[in-house]
Amino acid sequence: MERSSRAATAPGLRLGRSRPRYGEAIVKVVLLVAALVSIATTIGIVASLVSPTIEFFAEVGIVEFVTGTSWGPGFRPPTYGVLPLVTSTVVITLIAVLVAVPLGLLAAIYLSEYASRRVRKVIKPTLEVLAGIPTVVLGFFALTVVTPFLREWTPFDVSFKNGLSAGIVVGIMIIPLVASLAEDAMSAVPYGLREGAYALGSSRMVTSLRVVFPAALSGIIAGVILAVSRAFGETMIVVVAAGSNPSLTANPLQEMVTFASYIAQAASGDIPVGSTVYKAVFAVGSLLFVTTFALNYISARIVRRFREVYE
């Protein structure tokens, strides 16, 4: 839409008026306060994380945290090496991406380039339903359907709780996200480009892959990064299906504990407030927050910087 035609309600425009309207000013303040709730949320998150995290590093030491290879706050003596959580989080995210990106992108190409309006009208809400399934349900699905399947039908020695099953189901969870963001990006590519390609004799496949896909690439990458960040912070699927014993391994057939699943586990047990374990939860939370924040920021930057502006 043209911005200029909306300027009628934009601020700064002073229409002549006969008397001051205090109600209007009050309304504006109320609305601004509502908008500021989101800022307060961010400040609250940072505030809740900062001081326990600093106290944690005063007690444990940042070197042990970053280089330690064993995570066992419950051990005697307790160990606070975060590397096992890092490898698990990365491995599960990677599996999820391997599942979701190909399926999500192909589904997006179909929806944007091939499907008729009618088909799209049915499939998009259905994908939304998939996106709306509670993750605790998906976790149960991973535990009771996917893991038994892997144990039965693959030659590997899959343990009862494992990172592979959790990663696959996290991937399923983010398929709709990848598909809908990629489809938005591809639908935004102007028709002129497609028509140009057709006029030069391209087939539909060539048009989709060589014209539309590259033109929408920045939006697609931003969407994939957002999906990665979602997988990175997924809690319930991992806590249910991937187990509770962290070890320094990249083998997804074993139990794995990610940042988010550790927080859920530790917090659902009884931990005394103010203890080192309690602070460890916040330290891991900080790590999770900073990482996802960075991913989201990169995604937003990519959209802004590399967006092809047509018109």
Binding site: M1, S5, T9, A10, P11, R21, G23, E24, L31, L32, A34, A35, L36, S38, G44, I45, S48, L103, G104, L106, A107, Y110, Y114, I123, P125, T126, L127, E128, V129, G132, I133, P134, V136, V137, G139, F140, F141, L143, I172, I175, Y191, G192, E195, Y198, A199, G201, S203, M205, R230, T235, M236, V240, I263, A267, F289, T292, L295, N296, S299, A300
Partner: protein
């Protein structure tokens, strides 16, 4: 913007002759969609087939029990979820809609603070839900002293879904054409009168759709509530804002972590309730969108 469509003949000509790889590509596209939707069907089927045997009145009439799975129900979890959703709706929807009105109708985008608000909302929408649990645990429950009652849980869920409400309400408000605002202003209405009497009524279907989807997200959310310690044994309904509570997804998690198979059946039965509720809300949202969304 007028939507131009490629003339059908051009597409047909382009696909003429159709070498094998064109067909294979199309097949791969359809297959990926079938796989994604197949998983959806599989999830629904496996939960229903597992849970239906235990899906009876005990589920909503009885309280959870640790020792006797055959007598256990999810009543405290169901009422807990109702409390949470009611409170979340009361807190998150007005705040979110007002914030959306501010951003769409009042905010001057050249001001840095408005850009910060906007970026911040985008970022909050992508923060893992468990972080909201940490916020609730560290600040709302302890520093603000609201404790671990149903109110704290609802605040955590409200903050979690607030960005979703704001983003969808903004889209709905943006879809109302400027000419409607201009007409109202030209007739002498003030800005707020224009918004309240013209823009909002036209945007209501879109706002309602987004609100329902946001609430359905809140219903299924377990992680922040677990951090608040809701996954413990709660055999009573909450009676005030500060009572301890359970919720359906949390109760389901609690049952999944039990080792006895009977509890897993209970979990599946409770999942059936949860999914039925969510499908109902989703269909309502889709119906609203398809029926009332005007194209200007």
């Amino acid at each position: 913007m007028t939507v131009l469509t490629t003339p059908k003949t051009a597409v047909r000509l382009a696909a003429k002759g159709r070498p094998l790889r064109e067909h294979l590509f199309r097949l791969a596209l359809v297959a990926s969609l079938v796989i994604a939707l197949g998983f959806l069907a599989l999830v629904l089927y496996s939960m229903i087939s597992k849970g239906m045997g235990r899906f009876d009145a005990r589920l909503w009439e009885n309280m959870p029990s640790i020792r006797r799975p055959e007598a256990a129900g999810a009543q405290s979890a169901i009422t807990g979820t109702m409390w949470l959703i009611g409170l979340t709706a009361v807190m998150a929807l007005p705040t979110g809609i007002l914030a959306a009105i501010y951003l769409e109708e009042y905010a001057d985008r050249t001001r840095w603070y408005n850009r910060v608000i906007e970026l911040n909302i985008q970022n909050l929408a992508a923060i893992p839900s468990i972080i909201y649990g940490i916020l609730a645990l560290g600040i709302i429950a302890r520093v603000l002293g609201l404790g671990f009652g149903v109110l704290t849980g609802a605040i955590a869920l409200s903050l979690l879904v607030l960005p979703i409400v704001i983003i969808s309400a903004r889209e709905a408000i943006r879809a109302v054409p400027p000419s409607i605002r201009e007409g109202s202003l030209a007739l002498g209405a003030t800005q707020w009168q224009t918004i309240y009497r013209q823009v909002l009524p036209a945007a209501i279907p879109g706002i309602a759709t987004g609100s329902i989807l946001a609430l359905s997200r809140a219903i299924g959310e377990a992680a922040p509530l677990i951090v608040l310690g809701a996954a413990t044994f709660v055999p009573f309904n909450p009676e005030s804002l500060f009572d301890r509570f359970s919720a359906l997804p949390v109760q389901i998690y609690f049952w999944i972590t039990q080792s006895r198979e009977e509890f897993h059946l209970l979990a599946a039965a409770a999942i059936v309730i949860l999914l039925a509720l969510l499908l109902l809300m989703n269909s309502a949202a889709i119906l609203l969108r398809n029926r009332y969304q005007k194209r200007y």
